[in-house]
Symmetry: C2
DNA sequence: TAAAGTGGTAACCAACAAGTAACCAACATG
DNA sequence: CATGTTGGTTACTTGTTGGTTACCACTTTA
């Protein structure tokens, strides 16, 4: 969502969408809702995200104060991610959004155009 | 957010982001929260959106059952937009998101890199 | 000696979102 | 006859996102 442009917009919706409005961010936040996890664990939990995209997603969420990144200088290296207070306050909103969708979602898969 | 791909995803967050996660959609929904408005009025309320982008935004929100489009066969033509029930249930969530942002937003404009 | 695990980077690419500017039909008005 | 109003459309350009694949350093294990 052109994150760097909207991050300091006058509009709070543009700002919150700059934080939340990308493919994987809500998923990553939700995955960390009640646990700390390592890079590889988040990657395994989510499954279909690529390492590169997970890296930039985590980096941006850290920049925006949503999560903490803790590096342990061991071998092999260990890096842990967990939500900040600010990040935790986002959880009920994410859950509400998912609930809203579930309540209003009708599977209209027949509308999907699959070109043979 | 690659709307057509995620619209029928298994993940409710991907689905709701397919509806809400673009630059102008939450703004348009919010603009219609307690009134019906014509194309030109929405354009005037929001101000900085282009006609082309407003057209596709409105069309997609109608497709997703968030708003109604009513065409009056007059001259000059009149077209009115208003939220559906489904769209109206989104309002408290949008307000919560904006509130969340306002509560956690610190203006760190000095971090913006403005290349001279 | 070779492989495996960890948390990433770098180079490259396709698809999509959003923006600009010009243009349109159909009349009403001056 | 020219201009304005309304709700758009068309063609074109740019910027961003997400994806793939290969690769890295370092150390332990087989």
């Amino acid at each position: 969502m052109a994150r760097n442009i909207f991050k300091y917009s006058d509009c709070p919706m543009h700002r919150s969408m700059a934080i939340l409005g990308s493919k994987w961010k809500p998923i990553v936040i939700y995955a960390l809702r009640e646990r700390t996890a390592r890079f590889g664990q988040i990657h395994a939990i989510i499954g279909s995200i690529s390492k590169k995209v997970l890296t930039t997603t985590l980096k941006e969420l850290e920049e925006d104060g949503i999560l903490n990144r803790t590096e342990y200088k061991e071998l092999p290296p260990r890096v842990e991610y967990n939500l900040t207070d600010k990040g935790r306050t986002l959880i009920p909103i994410i859950i509400q959004l998912a609930k809203w969708d579930n309540e209003h979602y009708e599977e209209k898969r027949e509308k999907l155009e699959i070109t043979p």
